[in-house]
């Protein structure tokens, strides 16, 4: 237990590490690259950009997605923008400032060297995307426009209307499509990864299942890249797409990859509240709305008057009251917790009291309806489509929802997990956001990993290890992994119980939201550790899946993912229970200051908790101590 892990960060000054490391990494000769095969799982920003770039370099790439097209990946739904330290606004931005904001925003729980490198390559991402034809917003002079985002005092966010994720993903998808057309990438759609083939601590391939005909097979390669996104759907209701799941990374974990900081999850403060039991997902409203909207609840508990009938002096603009200097633009974790607090106090609004008002009346009076329409028209339309209410005349109702997961598989500076040849990119790894991610940084990280980091570090790995021989041991292990996956599918179909996969998923989500959600405490976490295994037992005894494993069977797909969530949830709770501090998205009620702010414990918890699967026993924890040599650990204050 508690073995010390090393992130294998290169020596040298912070600013020189990456350049120096690139110069020292071994290279694969151009004509030798085609001898190496690489499997990329997932085709979001990280996966598509990596697959395209590696194919351009000459590697043999296979790209896998469970969607019907790479363009459907959930990166497509990101609205706001992408950060880059371009300093086009001449407002004092720099690589250092982007690095510092990201480290501070992450509540000092990320690796310095990784975050600095992210800031260093951020500018290249914008250049690359512009060259691909991504239609970023422009000023009248034809140059790139920027806007501001939470947690920063400079304007460094590039955007394409409210559809930045869509346009960046289409850019990467088009680069990938070009390589598919050239025959350099073998694209497999409607295939889900079921397992990783690991022999002697090295990844040799994956097991995939065809979602249309159910066929399970192994693919071997010299390296495997997991770019499979986050696990917010462990909460059932989240802003993630319905199919997002933990299966690929969780199964890698079961084959030996370490899972880092699973309890670091992000709750986004501005989502449309739940409207009923049938609710299938939550919809995010861009953070940018908080620039002009004022957030409030009635001062009196149980005040059921129409919002417009509640006089000014009977309203509590609680963010402005508690955080006068940041007010309605306080960071996500802080705004979310404040909303929960007032709702727990009985002052929430809307059905079930789970909502707060986001009111544009002042802004409309001050600026005129036209200006507000210009700035947020598409968001207001979306709100009206979903709720049937007109936000120009009635305040919006919002409530926090799970949005992003900072935790993920542990990786070293080269983005390689502790399993040789198994690399993890984008939201699927844990590396850059610490305990809280800043807005407009997820897109930056996914593309940094895929376009500008993996092409170097993968080459370094392959040049030093050589082609992975398809030995008898590899073939045996691949066959065994295929059989294991087939067995799992058969098992799910054979239970023939009475409850649907959705009902189990919903119940798990409720446990996680109540006990491991926005605020956590020891008692709740301990009871979750009892309830989750009970639910899991029931799942394996009472699940109902119709049909067969040899056809398109969406209930079976869902069941297989829920089975993994039911195991993973326990790991997440364990991690939350062990971390006796509050930091970023992880708020433990026992650890707060007198006025209710998160209280970090830097002496004991300045480390990454990386969990090792240990069969039916409790997982083992390894620690990677975080060393801050360039920044001072400060208390985040937004007052």
């Amino acid at each position: 237990m508690n073995t010390e892990l090393s992130g294998r960060t290169p020596l040298g000054s912070l600013a020189d590490k990456w350049e120096k490391h690139k110069n020292e990494l071994k290279l694969v000769n151009p004509s030798n690259k085609r001898k190496y095969s690489v499997i990329v799982v997932g085709t979001g920003l990280a996966g598509s950009s990596a697959a395209a770039t590696l194919a351009e370099l000459g590697y043999n790439v296979t790209a896998i997605t469970y969607n019907d097209s790479p363009r459907r990946a959930h990166s497509i739904a990101a609205q706001g923008g992408i950060n880059a330290a371009k300093n086009y606004q001449n407002d004092g931005d720099s690589v250092w400032r982007l690095f510092y904001d990201t480290i501070k925003g992450g509540d000092f729980r990320a690796r310095e060297a990784n975050v600095y490198r992210l800031a260093q390559v951020s500018g290249n991402i914008i250049d690359q995307c512009v060259a691909q034809g991504v239609p970023f917003a422009r000023e009248y002079g034809g140059y790139l426009a920027n806007r501001s985002f939470g947690g920063a005092q400079v304007s460094r966010t590039f955007y394409a209307r409210g559809q930045t994720g869509q346009q960046l993903l289409l850019g990467a998808y088009q680069a990938l499509s070009r390589q598919v057309g050239l025959g350099k990438v073998n694209l497999l759609t409607k295939k889900e990864m079921m397992d990783v083939v690991v022999v002697d601590g090295r990844a040799h391939g994956v097991v995939i299942r065809d979602l249309v005909d159910g066929k399970i097979e192994a693919l071997t390669a010299d390296a495997v890249l997991l770019c499979t996104g986050g696990y917010s759907n462990v909460f059932y209701l989240s802003t993630n797409a319905k199919a997002c799941n933990v299966t690929a990374v969780y199964r890698a974990y079961k084959r030996g990859a370490l899972f880092a900081n699973p309890c670091f999850t992000q709750i986004h403060p501005t989502c449309i509240p739940v409207s009923g039991d049938y609710q299938s997902k939550l919809t995010l409203m861009s953070e940018s709305l908080r620039n002009d909207g004022r957030i409030w609840v009635p001062k009196e508990r149980g005040d059921t008057r129409e919002p417009n009938r509640i006089p000014e002096d009977e309203r509590d603009y609680y963010l402005e009251r508690k955080y006068p200097s940041f007010g309605n633009l306080s960071p996500r974790d802080i705004a979310s917790r404040a909303a929960k607090e007032v709702c727990d106090d009985g002052r929430g609004v809307g059905p079930g009291g789970k909502g707060v008002y986001l009111d544009f009346a002042d802004a409309i009076n001050r600026l005129g309806r036209n200006v507000i329409e210009d700035r947020y028209g598409n968001l207001f339309e979306m709100y009206q489509r979903i709720t049937g209410e007109d936000p120009y005349s009635v305040p919006m109702r919002i409530y926090p929802a799970v949005h992003y997961t900072m935790g993920g598989l542990w990786v070293d500076y080269n983005l390689m997990s502790n399993v040789n040849g198994l690399f993890v990119l984008g939201e699927a790894n844990f590396s850059d956001h610490g305990a809280n991610r800043l807005g407009a940084s997820a897109l930056m990280q996914g593309l940094a990993d895929g376009y500008f980091i993996i092409p170097y570090t993968l080459g370094g790995y392959l040049a030093s290890t050589g082609v992975g021989e398809r030995t008898e041991a590899v073939r045996e292990k691949a066959t065994e992994a295929v059989q294991h996956s087939e067995e799992k599918i058969r098992h799910l179909l054979a239970i023939k119980g009475n409850r649907t996969p959705t009902s189990f998923h919903r119940e798990l989500g409720k446990i996680m939201w109540d006990k491991c959600g926005m605020a956590r405490n020891e008692q709740g976490l301990r009871s979750a550790l009892v309830e989750i295994p009970q639910l899991r037992d029931e799942f394996w005894n009472n699940l109902k899946v119709p049909g067969t494993g040899e056809e398109l069977n969406q209930s079976l797909e869902h069941s297989s993912r829920v089975a993994d969530f039911l195991e993973f949830a326990e790991l997440m709770v364990r991690d939350a229970l062990h971390r006796n501090e509050s930091c970023g998205g992880h708020f433990r009620e026992e650890f707060q200051t007198e006025d209710g702010e998160a209280k970090r414990n830097d002496n004991e918890f300045t480390y990454v908790a990386a969990w090792e699967y240990n069969g039916n026993n409790a997982p083992l924890m390894h620690k990677e101590h975080l060393r801050f040599e360039n920044v001072e650990l400060a208390t985040r204050s937004y007052k």
């Binding site: 019907d68 060259a131 034809g133 239609p135 034809g142 209307r161 559809q163 997902k281 049909g547």
Partner: protein, 246 residues
């Protein structure tokens, strides 16, 4: 509200399909259309019947995965709205609703309401990109783009690849989809270098996939959840003709 649904059921590609009738009770007006189908599917599952297969993912109108024909209209009755964003308040108690998959020979049915749209990907693979390897790019501001061109490019680029344009067209043409990608890239300086080859190759790919031609019905524009203008088709045709003559 209580509804009667007539849903296309088809076991597998090439199998004989048929409309089957289901009654759904107590539908809330706040449900999305897909949540209403979720409720139906939970009930079918509990009764041991095969749930209706349909595609969906983000459920916020951007991934382009969902797409069904409701009472003859792709994505249903509300303009510029994908079916995942369509809510039941657009329907009334006692309504009969017919639910079918996209109908086009280039989009074969996989099961029930699920169709295979990989033809779209193959069209993009023939030229829907700028040939620039990672690392080649000059500084982002080295390529100024007039705001009106950037806005026009963005209008076209907002296509979500759902296929409603094909489903709406009497010829099952993929012109709006293809023209949107070409219109996006050709509105920008970055797209100029490969202009001729792009339009030529993508139009031929579209024909090879079995999509029909455009006869100016403009149903595609009316059905497009992102409101993409059919003017992009006219531009594409002009470019195609010029390129073919050269």
């Amino acid at each position: 509200m209580n509804l009667r649904l007539h849903i296309w059921r088809q076991k597998e590609p090439g199998a004989q399909g048929m409309l089957k009738t289901y009654d759904v009770a107590d539908v809330s007006e706040h449900m999305s259309f897909l949540e209403m189908l979720d409720v139906l599917n939970e009930r079918l599952l509990e009764n041991g019947e095969d749930p209706v297969a349909f595609e969906h993912d983000c459920r916020e109108g951007i991934c382009g995965t969902c797409g069904i024909v409701i009472n003859g209209r792709p994505h249903g009755p509300v303009p510029k709205t994908t079916v995942c964003q369509l809510h039941m308040r657009s329907f009334h108690d006692g309504d009969s609703i017919t639910i079918e998959p996209w109908r086009a020979s280039a989009f074969p049915v996989v099961k029930d309401l699920v169709v295979d749209r990989s033809a779209f990907d193959r069209i993009v693979q023939k030229g829907g990109f700028v040939s620039v390897n990672t690392g080649n790019a000059p500084d982002g501001n080295a390529i100024p783009v007039p705001k009106v061109n950037a806005d026009l490019a963005m209008d076209a680029a907002s296509c979500i690849g759902c296929g409603a344009c094909v489903a709406a067209c009497p010829n099952a043409s993929a012109m709006l989809f293809t023209a949107a990608k070409i219109g996006h890239l050709h509105s920008l300086p970055q797209g100029q270098t490969e202009k001729g080859a792009r339009v030529y190759n993508m139009v031929l790919a579209m024909d090879d996939e079995g999509f029909g031609a455009c006869t100016n019905h403009l149903e595609c524009e009316a059905a497009c959840p992102k409101g993409i203008s059919a003017l992009f088709i006219a531009k594409m045709n002009a470019e195609f003709v010029i390129n073919s003559l050269l």
